[in-house]
Symmetry: C2
Subunit: 384 residues, 2 copies
């Protein structure tokens, strides 16, 4: 299948590109290259050193001369360029991972809010319209976030629910409730992608993903093929930050009382799930929502688990709860459904403890880099 990956230079993007190419798909990736810049602007960098986008494509092609994987620089907000690109490559599936994925980054001030909306919401609108014109039968797999739902006091369905009012019933989108401007962009995206399905007969899967963690997939056979690993307070996810802290024996710092419950998934299983969505497309006009996570954990449990696992490696990090820079419930009901991917055959290939061990192994050689950017782990923006 010809698969386009938007955001191929990202944490998931590059991992997915290699995985899909190995499965025999013809993979073309585009990226605007801004993730590296934004992390650097924030005074941090990937813990795992990265070759350039072009260099690692070259490394992959050299190691796999029979497979197809190409990457190029293109920003989806450049609508005309995007249309020409789609016309040329004629993808059968488009995976959209090209959004700015950080809540704290979006809370830095008006310019960051506007940048988030232009990159995420208008970028997605550009992609939707361009697909409608140039490849209307290609399926879209769009990365969203479980954060779209917030933490309601009711079980969270997968996108749709049966709404009953005064004896009348309709199947409606489950309401959105963002807790950052970044999350709000994902809510708007979901509204827009669902409408594009009704309007243009697009087949789309909106992946409401939990928190991803990990350093490794089976395709990362050489240093040049590793994916990025962010641990700064803007772009590092909770577990990735905790493990980076453990590796440098810094304090592990869950925010607030740490009772926040979230769904988590390992990078390698995120790749597996995205592939299931790509290879099992919905029908034209269908808007599917997959809640993509493996298990729900409480943040303070995870901090303790990271600390405990680190001890196996002779590390001795302590857990210290810090003031929560975010505005969020720190103790709440949380019961999200996640059945659709299991129905398609998703089988977790790993468990949290095993992944934590791999992460520590993979990060230990790069302690110096984490130490270099250590200051960037502490939150530098508050919600209030």
């Amino acid at each position: 299948m010809r698969v386009l990956i938007v955001g191929v230079d990202g944490y998931i993007g590059w991992s997915l590109a290699m995985y899909l190419a190995k499965r025999g798909h013809r993979v073309s990736g585009i990226d605007n290259g801004t993730r590296r810049i934004r992390v650097e602007e924030g005074g941090s960098g990937s813990a795992i050193p990265l070759p350039s986008m072009e260099h690692r494509q070259f490394a992959f092609n050299e190691a796999n001369p029979d497979l197809e994987l190409s990457v190029g620089r293109l920003d989806v907000v450049h609508y005309g360029d995007l249309c020409r690109y789609l016309q040329d490559f004629d993808p059968q599936a488009v995976v959209h991972l090209g959004e700015i994925p950080s809540a704290p980054y979006s809370m830095r001030g008006y310019n960051h809010i506007a940048t988030n909306y232009e990159n995420n919401v208008i970028g997605t609108l550009s992609l939707l319209h361009a697909m409608h014109l140039e490849c209307p039968n290609a399926a879209l797999v769009k990365l969203g976030t479980m954060g779209t739902y917030g933490t309601p006091n009711v079980p969270i369905p997968e996108g749709w629910f049966d709404c009953t009012i005064d004896g009348h019933t309709d199947r409606l989108m489950f309401p959105h409730k963002p807790s950052s401007w970044y999350h709000a962009t994902k809510c708007c995206d979901s509204t827009n992608v669902e409408y594009a399905c009704r309007l243009w007969g697009l087949a789309a899967t909106d992946i409401h993903q939990g928190v991803v963690y990990g350093t490794r997939t089976d395709e990362m056979l050489s240093d040049e093929l590793r994916t990025r690993f962010d641990f700064d307070s803007d772009f590092g996810t909770a577990i990735n930050r905790f493990v980076a802290q453990a590796v440098i024996e810094s304090e592990i710092t869950p925010y607030g009382i740490g009772g926040q419950r979230r769904g988590f998934i390992a990078l390698r299983d995120s790749i597996q799930c995205l592939t299931l969505a790509i290879e099992n497309q919905g029908h034209n006009g269908e808007y599917r929502v997959f809640n993509q996570f493996e298990e729900v954990y409480q943040l303070d449990e995870l901090a303790a688990l990271v600390s405990k696992t680190a001890k196996e490696f002779g590390l001795n990090p302590v857990v210290r709860h810090v003031d929560n820079p975010r505005m969020e419930a720190e103790s709440h009901f949380y019961e999200p459904a996640h059945k659709h991917l299991l129905d398609l055959g998703y089988k977790p290939t790993t468990d949290m403890q095993q992944q934590l061990r791999h992460m520590i192994e993979d990060l230990m050689p790069h302690r110096d880099r984490i130490l270099k950017y250590k200051e960037a782990i502490s939150p530098s923006v508050t919600w209030r």
Copy 2:
């Protein structure tokens, strides 16, 4: 009260500005001036001739030397300018009417979608952030649309509903379901305004307004003080278009079978309701939704009523159903609540029939202008 009106050069904006000034409020209005340009670009113009924005402020000030009403050119997407303006005027209430209000306009292609999002969604984000910094205690009254809800098979509440799933209950935002990219911008706005209330303690009223119609408010005492009247297929609302068609004895053209049910409200009562929202502010952090309409009508009933009323004036327009350019249900359940404004004291001051008579009286002198732009009444863009 110091009231800022964003979009003061519009149909509702100018009418509201005069009404509030007459009630003793200190009114300052801003506008980016694009409505006039967009209507002209579409080959049409206001049926009622308009002086410039500055000229009509001058006319109002001359007739009312003791009242305060000033207007200025400013686009809310220019964040820095907007902040300085808010700092200077220090409003106690901000009424945001400054959005592009047309579904067909938004369906013309990618550039129009992007323009809609930049003007509406990013403009509102700019306003929210600027208010947070410069006038955090000012209440926001934001114009939305009943179209945010679509036409679900359940009664439509006012913004919030009690959601019960598996025995758990939470009060959640009622789900959005847009039927054009314009409507989608309003859905995104609602998501963002609600979040700004939680995040920054903003007091906001999201007005989900039905279809507005009419030519007249009590403040329009001279020709120079009239508000604009659009009848083109992009910016003219259903009744306004029908009456314009009747006045030139053209066919009255409801779309499709005409069974679409919508809430309607006369311009003078829209002004009354907006004023109730402004003068009865919610508390800080509260996100209120008012469904603002007087009565639900079916479009083919309205077409017949316009035709019948026109006959009183010796006009003889016939009703002809035309292909529906939109993608919408043409026969559906529709039961929206509209209680909040009645609770605040809203009393309809007019009925549809009386308004239709006034409209025909007001438009007859401008038959030539309607004839001049007659071609623009027919839809020139389809949803499919």
